[in-house]
């Protein structure tokens, strides 16, 4: 176990090092300073120490610290991803279980057809169509913006959902529900892709588990299908779903960024696009460092978590 942790730490450090090299090249390109031609190494060391101290530079648009702006924007993106993830989990896991248990039967075919459609829909187009939804169907949901302008929420944690809860004594829960309503449509759009992906992964994982001998043994013990799914299948199928989903994290975040642009919500996508269009190129390395850093830390955290919760994976450690 300690060996494994050390190896993950090594991966973390080296990947972070290469990442900072990339963002250093980017930021020295965007700063296009004529002096930086010769002393790359000392410039890199300066860059790293500035990064560590939190001095990431100032935005060219409004002279605000770029780190604060980036963190605020990325927090909004994460909020969107989180809501979409909850919606997708609630729908996808049962669908995946049904499809996996009835493999190659009519239930499975119907569910997989839906999945195929969900994976083929272009996200930004779907987002545009769903912005039309409230006007066309009379649905009472806001289709744009992050929160109504009447609420003035002090930024404490950066996550608007938490901040609106903290500001509950001024607006009661109105601000919170307003924010939630603004998140509903974008999260629904994002969750379509996520649901399709999770259903597919769950189905594949469950099919593999259902073929194993301990499931046959459980059937011969006389357990019912429901009992088997709850006690044996889920426990063994979910770790591999989580592992596969970890690899999709970057796709999910990019889709969330595109959706934010369409819905004109505050978030990493919107922030990045306006910064690029305004010529504020320092936003690029900041975004790369923030988003990739987040993905890196999350994936290593998930790796270690999987190792802790899954005895099968832990056993494979003893081999090497």
């Amino acid at each position: 176990m300690l060996n494994y942790l050390l190896r993950r730490l090594n991966l973390l450090l080296i990947t972070a090092f290469v990442l900072t090299l990339i963002t250093f090249a980017l930021s020295s390109w965007s700063a296009d300073n004529a002096t930086a031609n010769t002393h790359y190494i000392s410039h890199y060391l300066e860059y790293i120490s500035a990064i560590v101290q939190g001095k990431w530079g100032l935005s060219a648009i409004d002279q605000q610290p770029i780190l604060t702006k980036g963190l605020l924007a990325f927090a909004a993106t994460l909020e969107l991803c989180f809501i979409a993830f909850i919606i997708a989990t609630v729908i996808a896991i049962p669908l995946g279980i049904v499809a996996g248990l009835n493999r190659n039967r009519s239930h499975d075919h119907i569910i997989m057809a839906i999945v195929l459609v969900g994976l083929a829909l272009p996200v930004f187009w779907l987002a545009i169509l769903s912005t039309m939804l409230p006007t066309l169907t009379g649905l009472v949901l806001p289709a744009g913006g992050s929160i109504s302008a009447v609420f003035e929420i002090p930024s404490i944690s950066g996550f608007l959902l938490i901040d609106t809860l903290l500001a509950a004594d001024t607006y009661h829960l109105d601000a919170f529900f307003n924010r939630l309503a603004h998140l509903m449509l974008p999260a629904a759009v994002l969750s379509i892709f996520l649901t399709a992906e999770m259903t597919r992964l769950t189905r594949d994982s469950i099919t593999v588990v259902m073929k194993s001998n301990y499931i046959k043994a459980a059937y011969t013990k006389g357990l019912s299908s429901t009992q088997i799914v709850i006690t044996h299948v889920l426990k063994n199928a979910l770790p591999s779903v989580i592992h596969q989903l970890r690899l999709k994290l970057s796709t999910i975040i990019s889709f969330a960024m595109v959706i934010e642009i369409v819905f004109a919500m505050n978030g990493a996508g919107d922030w990045l696009l306006t910064s690029i269009k305004a010529g504020d190129y320092i936003a690029l390395p900041t975004a790369v460092l923030l988003i990739s850093g987040f993905i890196l830390l999350t994936s290593i955290f998930i790796d270690i978590l999987l190792m802790i919760i899954s005895p099968v994976k832990r056993k494979s450690l003893y081999v090497d």
């Binding site: 991966l11 080296i14 990947t15 290469v18 990442l19 990339i22 980017l26 390109w29 195929l116 459609v117 994976l119 083929a120 829909l121 272009p122 996200v123 930004f124 187009w125 779907l126 545009i128 169509l129 039309m132 006007t135 970057s250 796709t251 975040i253 990019s254 960024m257 595109v258 642009i261 990045l272 696009l273 690029i276 190129y281 690029l284 975004a287 790369v288 988003i291 990739s292 993905i295 890196l296 994936s299």
Partner: protein
């Protein structure tokens, strides 16, 4: 063992023939294959089948609806856009740019990625290790962000968009090819080939690639789907092609102002993207099933 005690009338099929006959038996996949062929032909000959010249802005009526809707006519089947251009022509041009671009990207990524991935899998030591750590870092960055960075570096244009998307998809292809080759290398028939003294080229040609057909098909399909989505997303964000030859994403972005008065201008390009991806996915899924079935025999 011959059952009829005479001579064997049934021809023994080669693996390729057998795959083909299994694939043909799956009618949905077979239909999808014709869909793929038609789509590719459309992309290649878009300029010839288009009802009016692509740039010919014969300003007739603006924002004409499709012919089946009220007020439409048979001259412009899918109506006209805000500048009076025939929308079917625009759509065909869009399909040509998006689908053709995605196919080019898939080819380029496959060629380059296979070369690098195979080299990395067959070499040991510091070169491979540097490549892996570089790939680890590049894989962490979301592909859309990589493409965005590259296109900001190169400057927005259609060609640069293609280069940016292919470079952003390259790392994951290399990594997947590498992993597939690596898992093949440990199998006994590869070890036997090695003991026979096969060179690396021979090892790849006769030992590894024939057994990797299924993962390669899956991988290529994944790369193709991502390429379509990324080209159209970049186009939608305004980093793709300029106004004259719009690809599908840019077509949506330019017509988004009229989404309420003439929704088909936004609807059709998106549907085109959706149908392209769907048909290619069904086709490769059928192909994959056929290959698995043959390998299981």
């Amino acid at each position: 063992m011959l059952i009829n005690h005479e001579f064997c009338e049934e021809k023994i099929q080669s693996p390729l023939q057998y795959t083909w006959s299994t694939f043909k038996a799956n009618s949905i996949a077979f239909t999808a294959m014709w869909g793929v062929i038609i789509l590719i032909l459309t992309a290649v000959f878009a300029d010839f089948i288009a009802p009016s010249p692509a740039s010919g802005e014969a300003v007739k009526q603006l924002l004409l609806p499709p012919y089946w809707a009220e007020g439409g006519n048979m001259v412009s089947l899918l109506g006209t856009d805000a500048l009076g251009r025939d929308f079917l022509t625009r759509l065909l041009k869009g399909i040509q740019l998006t689908l053709g671009g995605a196919l080019l990207i898939t080819l380029a990524v496959a060629a380059l990625g296979t070369l690098i991935g195979a080299t990395a899998a067959l070499t040991r030591g510091i070169k491979a290790s540097i490549l892996h750590h570089l790939l680890d870092a590049l894989l962490i960055i979301p592909t859309l962000l990589t493409a965005l960075i590259l296109i900001v570096l190169f400057g927005p244009s259609y060609e640069n968009c293609l280069i940016a998307v292919s470079l952003s998809l390259l790392p994951q292809f290399i990594r997947s090819i590498y992993l597939s080759i690596e898992s093949e290398l440990n199998k006994q028939y590869i070890i036997a080939l090695r003991l026979d003294g096969a060179t690396n080229i021979r090892l790849l040609r006769f030992g590894i690639f024939p057994n990797m057909a299924e993962p390669i098909v899956t991988l290529l399909n994944g790369i193709f789907t991502l390429a379509i989505l990324e080209i159209s997303t970049l186009g939608f964000l305004g980093f793709g092609s300029p106004f004259l030859d719009a690809e599908l994403g840019a077509l949506i972005a330019t017509n988004i102002e009229w989404v309420f008065s003439s929704p088909w201008l936004v609807l059709f390009p998106g549907l085109a993207i959706f149908i392209i991806i769907l048909i290619f996915n069904i086709f490769t899924e059928g192909l994959r099933h056929a290959i698995i079935k043959v390998e299981d025999q």
